[in-house]
Amino acid sequence: MLDLAIRDLEVRFPGLDQPVLAISELALPAGSQVALTGPSGSGKTTFINVVTGLEPASSGHVAWRGTDLEALSESRRDRWRAANVGLVMQDFHLFPGLSAIDNVLLPQRLARLRRLPALTEEARRLLTRVGILRHGQPVETMSRGQMQRVAVARALVARPGVIVADEPTASLDAEAGTAVADLLIELVSEAGATLIVASHDPRFVGRLGRVLRLDGGRLLH
C-alpha cells in the first residue's frame, strides 16, 4: 500500500540523444491498479526497472511513500525491493530443482528478512489459493500456467506494498492467461497492494482502474 510520486525523471543511455524515459510528473495513490501499455521500445521495461529500483535513473526522483529510490545505494535499493516489491515476470524465473513451496520462499530465505514459520504458512495458503495443491512438486514438472501461478504466489508471500508484473500472460495460452490475470487482480485487491502491470493484454487493460500509455519514453494522457 505504497503511493508513488515521480518527478523530473529522465533515463538516458550512453550514445542516445533522446532519453529512453522522461516523465516530468506522475503520482499513483496507494492501492491503485495501473496498466502500462505502449509499443515495443516505448520504455515500459525501463519504467518498471526504475520504479522497482532495479536500475537507477539518470536524474529526477522516484519516491514510494516518501522513500526516494534515487537517493539510495544499490544494496539499499535491493533491500528496499526485497521488503516492498513483489515481481511477476514473463519468463516466470522459477528455479528448477526446487519444489513449488521452496521457490515461493527462496527470495525471503536468501534475504532473511522475515521469520520463516509465518512465511511458510502464508506460502502454503497462497499456493493453495492459486490452485497448486502439491506444494512439494518440482517446478520443472509443471505446465507454464502452473508455473506462473507459483510465481504469483511468490510475489505476494512477503505481503509487499507494490506488485509489479511484466507481461505476466504473454507467454501463456488464453486459458492459462485468463486464470493468471484473474488471480493476480484478485489477490492484489485482497492484499490492498498497489499494482502495476506492463501488458497489452485486454484482460488487464480493461479491468485495471488506470491505463498509462508510453510512447517514445513519454507518457500520453
Binding site: T45, I48, N49, T52, L54, E55, E74, S75, D78, R79, R81, A82, A83, V85, L87, M89, Q90, D91, H93, F95, P96, G97, L98, D102, L106, P107, Q108, R109, L110, A111, L113, R154, A158, D166, E167
Partner: protein
C-alpha cells in the same frame, strides 16, 4: 541458500562431475608424486633400520649397501676373514655378524650368518634359531614351512646356476617380519655356506683344491687374492673352510651337516673371506670411529643411512621436476576450470539477475556462486587426495611385491597444512566467478534485459 545450491549442483551434475574429476586427477598427480617419493624414502630408510654400519671390501659403497641391506644380487669382492675376527674383538663394537650371500633357493637369497644377526633383525618368532650346520631360518614371508628341506643353488634360477647336491638344509624357524627383502631370505649358518662352497669346488673344480689348501695355510690375504682373480663369481667363496683338510673328495656331507655350529670358526683370523659384515657400534662416537677406522685399503665401512641420504638427494631432484610438471598441470586445470565457471556464470546472468530482482542481497548471490565453485573444486581436491593416495598405494604394492621392501604410504602433519593452503587457494579462485556474479545487474533478469 544451501538448498538452492544443492538443487543447482544436482541439476548440473554431469558438468559438476566432470569438473570434479578433472580437478581430482590434477590433484592426484601431485599427491601421488609426493606420497610415492616419500614412501620410497621412508620405506628404504626403514628397511635399513637394523643396519647401522656395513663393512665390506673396497669398492662401491652403494653396491655394498644394495647387496647387504637390500639383498640385491651382485658380484662383490671378499674381505679377508681376519676383518671379522678384529671387529668381534673391538671394544667399540656391540655385536657384529657376517653376511654371506650368493646362493639361492627358488630365487630367494640364502644368507650365511650367525645367531647375532637373527637377533639384530628382530629375532625368531616361530620355531628356533639354527643350532647345527644343516638348519635354516626363513624370513617372515618365505613360503617354506618349518620342517621343509631344500638344496641351495649357486646363482639364481634360469642363470647357469647349479644345485649344490651335497648339501640339504632343513627349516627350523621363522623370523619376525621386518618389511625388508630379508622377509624373503633364508638364513643359514655361515659355516655351512663356507662348507657348501668347499664341497662344490672339491667336486667340480679339482684344480681349485690347490688354491683352497693354500688359502687355508697362508691365511686370509691369499683368500682375498683368490676372490679377486675371479670377480665374476657371485659373492662367495673361493676360499675354503679351515676344516678343508678334514673332508676329502668323498661326498659325505649329510654326516657333517648334523654337526653343531662351531662358533670359533667365524672369529678365527684364518676364516674364509666374507662379502659383508654388519656392525652394531656401542656409541655414536664409536660408530663414526669405526666408520673411519675401517675405510682403507682392505675394507670399506659405510652407514647405509649415508648412502640412502645421497640417493634421496637424487630422488628429491626427480620429485622436484615432477612437482613442477604437476604444478603446470594444476595451473592449466585451474585456468581451464576458471574459464568454464566464468562462462557458466555469464550464461546464467539472467537467473542470477532474477535472484537479485526478487530481493536476494548481493552478498547472497556472491555467497551462492562462491560456495558452488568452492564446493566443486574443493570436492575435486579431496577426491584427488584420495585418488593420489590410492594410486601411491597401488604403486607401492607392486613395488613391495617385486622387491620385498614395504613402502609406507602415509600422510604427514605437514600435508594437512598443504591441504589448508590448497583450500585457501580454492577459496580465492572461487572469488573470481562470485565477484562476476556480484557485479551482475538485477535489471538483466527482465525481458530484454
Amino acid at each position: 541458500m544451501f538448498q538452492f545450491i544443492a538443487a543447482d549442483l544436482k541439476r548440473h551434475w554431469i558438468g559438476v562431475a566432470v569438473i570434479v574429476l578433472i580437478v581430482a586427477l590434477a590433484t592426484a598427480l601431485g599427491v601421488a608424486v609426493t606420497l610415492q617419493e616419500r614412501a620410497l624414502r621412508l620405506g628404504s630408510a626403514r628397511a635399513a633400520e637394523a643396519f647401522d654400519l656395513v663393512v665390506g671390501a673396497p669398492g662401491s659403497d652403494t653396491q655394498l649397501v644394495l647387496s647387504s641391506v637390500f639383498l640385491q644380487a651382485a658380484p662383490l669382492p671378499l674381505m679377508p676373514g681376519a676383518v671379522f675376527a678384529d671387529l668381534s674383538q673391538d671394544p667399540r663394537v656391540a655385536w657384529a655378524a657376517p653376511i654371506g650371500f650368493g646362493d639361492f633357493v627358488d630365487g630367494d637369497p640364502i644368507v650365511g650368518t650367525t645367531e647375532a644377526l637373527l637377533k639384530g633383525l628382530g629375532g625368531v618368532t616361530e620355531g628356533r634359531g639354527f643350532a647345527s650346520l644343516g638348519e635354516a631360518v626363513v624370513g617372515a614371508l618365505d613360503a617354506r614351512q618349518i620342517g621343509d628341506s631344500f638344496h641351495p643353488m649357486h646363482g639364481t634360477v634360469g642363470s647357469q646356476g647349479e644345485v649344490h647336491t651335497g648339501i640339504t638344509y632343513r627349516v627350523v624357524g621363522r623370523m619376525a617380519p621386518t618389511g625388508t627383502p630379508w622377509d624373503r631370505a633364508v638364513l643359514v649358518p655361515i659355516q655351512a655356506v663356507w662348507m657348501a662352497h668347499h664341497h662344490h669346488h672339491d667336486d667340480d673344480e679339482h684344480e681349485n683344491e690347490a688354491d683352497a689348501s693354500a688359502g687355508a695355510d697362508t691365511g686370509a690375504p691369499a683368500l682375498n687374492a683368490a676372490a679377486a682373480d675371479q670377480p665374476a663369481e657371485r659373492g662367495f667363496g673361493e676360499g675354503s673352510a679351515p676344516h678343508a683338510q678334514d673332508d676329502d673328495d668323498h661326498d659325505d656331507a649329510p654326516a657333517d651337516l648334523r654337526a653343531p655350529i662351531d662358533e670359533a670358526a667365524v672369529t678365527d683370523p684364518h676364516a674364509p673371506g666374507l662379502p659383508a659384515i654388519l656392525v652394531k657400534p656401542q656409541s655414536f662416537a664409536d660408530a663414526y670411529k669405526l666408520r673411519q677406522a675401517y675405510r682403507g685399503d682392505r675394507t670399506l665401512a659405510v652407514f647405509p643411512g649415508e648412502v640412502l641420504t645421497r640417493l634421496y638427494g637424487t630422488l628429491g631432484d626427480v620429485r622436484r621436476i615432477l612437482s613442477w610438471v604437476a604444478a603446470g598441470a594444476q595451473g592449466l586445470v585451474a585456468a581451464a576450470i576458471l574459464l568454464v565457471v566464468m562462462v557458466h556464470v555469464m550464461q546464467r546472468r539472467r537467473q542470477i539477475g532474477a535472484l537479485r530482482a526478487f530481493g536476494a542481497p548481493r552478498r547472497a548471490v556472491f555467497g551462492i556462486v562462491w560456495v558452488e565453485a568452492f564446493a566443486i573444486i574443493g570436492l575435486g581436491v579431496v577426491v584427488g587426495f584420495g585418488l593420489g593416495y590410492a594410486g601411491a598405494r597401488v604403486a607401492s604394492g607392486v613395488f613391495t611385491a617385486s622387491s620385498g621392501i614395504s613402502l609406507p604410504v602415509t600422510f604427514l602433519a605437514s600435508d594437512a597444512s598443504s591441504l589448508v593452503v590448497l583450500f585457501v587457494l580454492t577459496g580465492l579462485i572461487a572469488v573470481i566467478p562470485a565477484a562476476l556474479a556480484y557485479r551482475q545487474s538485477p535489471a538483466s533478469a527482465l525481458r530484454g534485459g
